[in-house]
């Protein structure tokens, strides 16, 4: 439905978007994820019509939307600051876009009531934006941008101003509304958890380029680069050099004096090619005794324990100085834990636990 074709955007010398091509499909909940300054907001502003691409074209439903001004696009945007009109009531804010079209009055009333109901704001219709809470303002902004039933809704860091608890509730509300209305949502965020929760597909961006576009689980399980592995969730990166063992199995020589590690990879690596092994902390087991039959096991001592309640993350220092994080569920009372700070422990993981990355 949306197609970026070799789009480049420059602001003077600065290249915000660098020759980027991307397809976004109908009724999708798509997330643009990246650190600040990666170009994700520029992408969104080009979709809304506030910026024009320097090169390349953007298609919406097969039509080039370059020459279409923002007020003529079937695209609405929910602003990061919400941009509610402070001089208008909640009702008038939601009706604002409808009144600009040729919709008859009674239909506008019906549509606004519908939107108020969808976002559970009926009680606040007569209030001004400064008389309601942050979470309610966020819902007004959503209702206002949905009122015109756009083909595409853009959400610019929509939950940035909310506290954590409210944000989590609102994320599910957003997904509900997206399913109910069947609108294509494109969300911009720097919060990887938020992107993973709400989106059906996520594009990880850096310096104006797409690094990986995939579903949240694939991004997490099979990142295509150290950048993505590091950006999405917590990860241990072990540098080394490969040696093929056949059957997609590779031996990785890493720190001198340590036995080589074993990992599988569908991507081929040549012998002695430098590589990075990325392993999620929860896939590393921690035990007081040396585990038997483990593909990989290393010994170290506990340096730090981050206690999260249900989970604990152990920072284990190996003799070479490398620190590896292991995460374990706290299935036993904390007083019965068999190891604590400075204790020698064994870390182990299977050959399939990690991902071998070239860069």
């Amino acid at each position: 439905m949306i197609r970026f074709q070799n789009v480049t955007k420059r602001f003077g010398e600065f290249v915000a978007i660098d020759d980027l091509s991307l397809d976004i499909f109908e009724q999708e909940f798509f997330a643009l994820l990246g650190p600040s300054g990666c170009g994700k907001t520029t992408m969104m502003r080009m979709l809304a019509g506030f910026e024009n691409p320097t090169q390349g074209r953007i298609e919406l439903a097969g039509q080039d939307i370059g020459p279409v001004p923002p007020n003529k696009r079937a695209v609405n945007m929910m602003f990061q600051s919400y941009a509610l009109f402070p001089h208008l009531s909640i009702w008038d804010n939601i009706a604002f876009g409808l009144r600009r079209s040729n919709m008859p009055k009674d239909q506008i009333t019906a549509r606004v009531e519908e939107m108020l109901k969808l976002t559970r704001l009926e009680k606040f219709a007569r209030r001004k934006p400064h008389q309601i809470s942050g979470g309610q303002r966020q819902r007004v902004a959503l209702a206002r941008s949905l009122a015109k039933a756009p083909k595409l809704l853009l959400l610019d860091e929509p939950l940035g101003a909310l506290d954590k608890k409210l944000r989590q509730d609102t994320q599910f509300e957003l997904m509900d509304i997206q399913e109910k209305t069947g609108t294509t949502f494109v969300i911009v965020t720097h919060d990887q958890e938020e992107a993973m929760t709400v989106a059906s597909r996520v594009a990880v961006m850096d310096e104006g380029r797409l690094i990986q576009v995939s579903t949240p689980d694939r991004l997490y399980e099979t990142p295509n680069s150290v950048y993505v592995a590091d950006f999405i969730g917590d990860v241990n990166i072990i540098e080394g050099a490969t040696k093929a063992l056949g059957d997609d199995r590779y031996q990785i020589a890493w720190v001198d004096g340590q036995p080589p590690l074993v990992a599988t990879s569908h991507r081929p690596f040549s012998d002695s090619q430098p590589c990075h092994l990325a392993i999620r902390p929860e896939k590393v087991a921690i035990s007081a005794d040396r585990p038997e039959n483990a593909d990989n096991s290393v010994q170290g001592k506990v340096l730090d324990i981050a206690y999260l309640g249900n989970l604990s993350t152990y920072h284990v220092e190996l003799p070479s100085g490398t620190i590896i994080k292991a995460q374990a569920a706290n299935t036993r009372r904390i007083s019965r834990r068999s190891f604590t700070w400075e204790d020698p422990v064994w870390l182990s993981w299977t050959a399939t636990a990690g991902v071998l990355l070239a860069e």
């Binding site: 506030f50 600051s81 009109f85």
Partner: protein, 293 residues
């Protein structure tokens, strides 16, 4: 106790510098004119008692103001000049303030400086400078003659036109600054939101920018209207004999006729007229402060 002093200080200030002088003027307005120093009777004499003093006061001077049509004509003409000047100041000031608020950040201090710069020289000198510009042989006429727009010099000085020019010029910064402050505070994404929801640039300006700068417009208009109504220097320097303004009448009553009681009555009425816009202005400021909480 500290709180009491904190609150009492501004009230004491107002009492000493506003209420007491006003009561003195009010008292003079109720007195009769006399050839004496000061030129009015009665004077408070404790030997005769307060009652005798009060019994000599009357509203004769106020009645006189209604008999001579010079006064109400002067009030009306002052109102008209003040209203028209305010409108012109708004028409000229709004685009300037808008341009300043939209200017790049690094330009703004300079633009702000340019608006405030005239205050660095005496107001009187600037009005005299306008006499040089507007007179028959002035710069404006010479320039218009030189480019050939006119054949004979225009008579601008000593007319109401000159008064309008003088007032608009003098009070323009008072209009620009509050409007600029209102526009500067405005979130730029509001305009984008309006466009996103289907507004053209012009309707977005009309439906969002203007209502959101309303407080600035109201504040600026009062800041121009209130002093312009009682303006004395500009009409007496730039205006002609036909320019009727209450500030000028007031001055003439005091210094030419030495009729302090009538002059005081004129001043009291002027103050009553001004109380209405001042109260409205205060309410606007208060509403704005509440909205910002």
């Amino acid at each position: 106790m500290r709180r009491f002093f904190l609150i009492a200080t501004p009230y004491a200030w107002l009492l000493a510098l506003f209420l007491v002088p006003f009561l003195i003027v009010l008292k003079i307005s109720l007195s009769d004119t006399a050839l004496a120093i000061p030129p009015y009777v009665p004077k408070l004499d404790w030997a005769e008692g307060i009652g005798a003093f009060l019994s000599q006061l009357d509203f004769e001077n106020f009645a006189f103001l209604t008999e001579d049509d010079l006064y109400w004509k002067a009030y009306l003409s002052s109102l008209q000049i003040a209203v028209v000047s305010t409108v012109f100041t708004l028409i000229i000031g709004y685009p300037i303030a808008y341009g300043m608020a939209r200017a790049p950040d690094e330009w703004r201090p300079t633009l702000m400086m340019l608006v405030i710069l005239p205050f660095w020289t005496s107001f009187l000198i600037r009005v005299y400078a306008w006499m040089g510009i507007l007179s028959q042989e002035g710069f404006l006429n010479q320039f218009l003659l030189w480019i050939g727009v006119i054949d004979t010099p225009l008579t601008i000085l000593n007319t109401n036109t000159a008064v309008y020019i003088g007032i608009v010029y003098t009070y323009l910064p008072f209009m620009i600054l509050p409007i600029y402050a209102a526009l500067d505070r405005m979130d730029g994404s509001l305009i984008e939101a309006a466009e996103d929801l289907g507004c053209s640039r012009l309707t977005a300006f009309w439906l969002v920018t203007i209502p959101l700068s309303r407080n600035g417009i109201v504040a600026g208009s009062f800041l121009v209207f209130i002093p312009a109504l009682g303006e004395f220097v500009i009409p007496s320097l730039l205006g002609g004999s036909g320019t009727l303004m209450i500030g000028k009448i007031l001055w003439e009553e005091f210094f030419s006729n030495r009729d302090w009681p009538v002059a005081s009555a004129v001043a009291v009425i002027l103050l009553l007229i001004l109380v209405i816009p001042i109260v409205l202005f205060q309410r606007n400021q208060q509403k704005q402060a509440e909205a910002e909480q």
